[in-house]
Symmetry: C2
């Protein structure tokens, strides 16, 4: 999606450690009108899937997921990060291991908010190694919900997470796909 | 706002300790179409204020703030909770003390995302004792931004936080105001 690629080129900042900072429009500050354009594109791509619920993960996924949910006319449920305690039986949960930070934590969704009658569209801002997305898919599958698709704003294709999940049979639609990125050469899209 | 009051009466759950659980439509699960109705009402109330930015706090405020931001055609910036470390000079910060949990933490907004040219509308899901709202107001004031108003979904008037802040001169528009609540008598609105 050219609009998003252009925004990344003008406002994204590449930090050491291969980090793309898009804090000014997608993360801590959210450009709501731009997010609406992304939402319209996901709606065009998934409108025939009879989506009943959008699933995302806190915190940076929530805004974009809610704007997408408006287009589909459905609710959003977001997975919470739960550090320390083990989740009770009231929750579907899945563990995320962060090799970068050397930590692990559970993400949880209350059982009352997702069921086998749901057709889920997962929405998130970033997809790199895919650990958060795999956790969300696992929660949906444990609930018996059907994952009809995944909408991602920015995919870093060179980290390989997305293609592994595509190979499992899931449809992932990323609106900007970064093939290569460094602080000298800049950003190259697929 | 009758629509919201009705939703609270049908789907809200009163838990011990005077907790109102609205998890099925306002917190972990977000009824996006309902939130759009709330956003339209805030737009009606604040449309003459030349709002340039919506400010909220993670995580449960983000969804409703983004939907409101769409109506105003402006970005959202949310305050992050920062536990442990002290914020660097790149952030405006304010401390929140939770007497319930016996903890305190800083909430922060990067200085680059708010400035003295902003007319801010603060949006949040709940207002009870007002500690989170006071922290957001303090951050805006430190940035030199003008707080033009506050939009709240559910205010618990009997906890007194809102009126103290109104007495400081801020305009708070709460769409459901709970005067009294207990697990026997149910919920009474103002």
């Amino acid at each position: 999606m050219k609009l998003l690629e252009d925004k990344i080129l003008t406002d994204g900042i590449i930090l050491p450690g291969n980090v793309l900072k898009v804090d000014s429009f997608l993360s801590q500050q959210i450009d709501a009108p731009l997010m609406e354009k992304l939402a319209e594109e996901w709606y065009r791509l998934f409108e025939n899937e009879k989506i009943t619920k959008i699933v995302t993960i806190e915190a940076s996924g929530i805004g974009i997921a809610c704007i997408a949910a408006l287009k589909f006319g459905v609710p959003v449920v977001y997975a919470k990060k739960m550090r320390g305690a083990n989740p009770s039986s009231d929750y579907y949960s899945s563990k995320i291991v962060s090799y970068t930070h050397g930590t692990s934590y559970n993400v949880v969704i209350p059982k009352m908010h997702i069921s086998d009658s749901d057709n889920v569209l997962i929405i998130d801002d970033f997809l790199a190694n895919g650990s958060a997305l795999r956790a969300l898919i696992k929660i949906c599958e444990n609930a018996g919900a059907k994952v009809c698709g995944v909408g991602i704003a920015i995919e870093k294709t060179y980290q390989g997470g997305a293609d592994k999940i595509r190979n499992m049979g899931y449809r992932i639609e990323s609106l900007a796909k970064i093939k290569k990125m460094d602080d000298i050469g800049g950003i190259e899209f697929c």
